[in-house]
Symmetry: C2
Subunit: 244 residues, 2 copies
DNA sequence: ACCTGAACACCGTTCAAGT
DNA sequence: ACCTGAACACCGTTCAAGT
């Protein structure tokens, strides 16, 4: 029977408001009370600690880190998917809040791609997460940011919807394509080697000269530049008047 | 102790070449021997039976359907992920083999988007699968098909790589965005209702008039048309000469 | 209200053993 | 070579019970 014992971990038991209270007069609350915010922070820490794809985040790992039971976590968070979505949005939010102030709409749209790729570099698991569900906060945030810039470009109605949908799809697709690639732990040399192998793999798949050409081109580019080139291409398409 | 008993399921035991043989003279092989092909077919059947996201495919469900043990399946297939990739490619392959013969490159590129969206309509789980891994056969197939058409358009080198990367990313992103949307079980009315709800949800998220505008536009469009519009926009961008 | 922890119903993968 | 099935090391979620 342990009462008001102080664990050497992150938690104090049977204590409140920073003051030790007699166990009989207070209910059993932790001083560092759980909250959705604290849980999301722990989730991000777990995801960041492991390289790439996000499989590291597990309810049980969360339990050990927060020194609590599953029920406590489920009291603040409805589901693990919700938690993943919250983690992704929390990481993306600050990057995106800086964007609206960009002077030129086209630059702001390029900044969207840059923000996402830089977030992936720091938190590789975001790549997989963003393509998981189209209604999650982070994706809607991307949509909205793009939409606002398109409006500044003078687009309205169907044209705005088409342009917005195209840019959003492109950005998410880039993430899907490059997100699972070489991780942040790779140096430039490892990166080149990875892409080299990939290019050769492609080339071997069939002797097609077209594929070989493209594969060898890809080897030279880095993800971010590739993505920015794509944004520029789409911006040219937006600027061009529909032919029909 | 059962020998050469005929199960009423899909399998016969201790029999071979359609002829019942004495158990003592033959080893214990099944007449409908397992093969990667048979396993992939079963996987597709399981995935198709369940609506949407592909969580239905499970080793244990595969075991019951094929009336076998886990070891038997792992003898033909290295991992469940490989199986998912094989299932997706088997479904996509026939759709894509028809495309190369399209007369006009631009039409062929539009046909790529159409092929993918029609595959998703018939097999909703493909949406999630395609965004899972960038090196899976189905994705490489998409890449190659697009690459070949871009070559027919006269693109080479860096321009081909940028255009190919952009189109592929866009198509995969569309899939990520719309793949998890209303399932094939929805009628047109349900669809409208779903998108209506989505538009309102977006609008509520903040009072931003830009977002409301775009959301209400999206409500009118269907996935395929949206995707084709995007392809056209990108094709205009490809046709336009780079400004720098 | 907030938390505990056992219980439930699952997963994918491995591997010694059989024929 | 091909298959069996037990065992292993996990999952997310629920819920009666505690304070």
């Amino acid at each position: 029977m342990e009462q008001c014992s102080i664990k050497l971990g992150a938690t104090l038991h049977f204590c409140q408001d920073g003051v030790m209270t007699s166990p009989s007069s207070r209910s059993a609350r932790r001083i560092d009370a759980l909250s959705k915010e604290r849980i999301v922070d722990a989730a991000i820490a777990i995801l960041d600690a492991d390289e790439s794809d996000g499989a590291a985040l597990t309810l049980r790992r969360l339990m050990t880190r927060l020194e609590t039971g599953s029920g406590a976590i489920y009291h603040h968070v409805a589901t693990m998917d919700e938690l993943r979505a919250a983690a992704a949005d929390q990481v993306l939010r600050p990057q995106f809040e800086a964007i609206s102030s960009e002077s030129e709409p086209n630059d702001a749209l390029r900044a969207v791609a840059r923000a996402i790729f830089e977030s992936i570099r720091a938190h590789p698991w975001i790549g997989v997460q963003l393509t998981r569900s189209p209604l999650q906060d982070a994706v809607i945030r991307i949509w909205k940011t793009i939409g606002i810039q398109l409006e500044r470009l003078g687009l309205r109605g169907a044209a705005a919807a088409t342009a917005g949908s195209t840019l959003t799809s492109f950005v998410l697709g880039s993430v899907a394509q490059f997100g699972a690639g070489p991780s942040r732990h790779m140096g430039a040399a490892d990166r080149r080697e990875y892409l080299e192998t990939l290019a050769q793999e492609w080339a071997q798949l069939d002797g097609d000269i077209v594929v070989q050409d493209i594969a060898s081109q890809l080897r030279e580019h880095d993800d971010l530049q590739q993505s920015l080139d794509g944004v520029d291409l789409i911006l040219r398409g937006i600027a061009a008047r529909p032919t029909s």
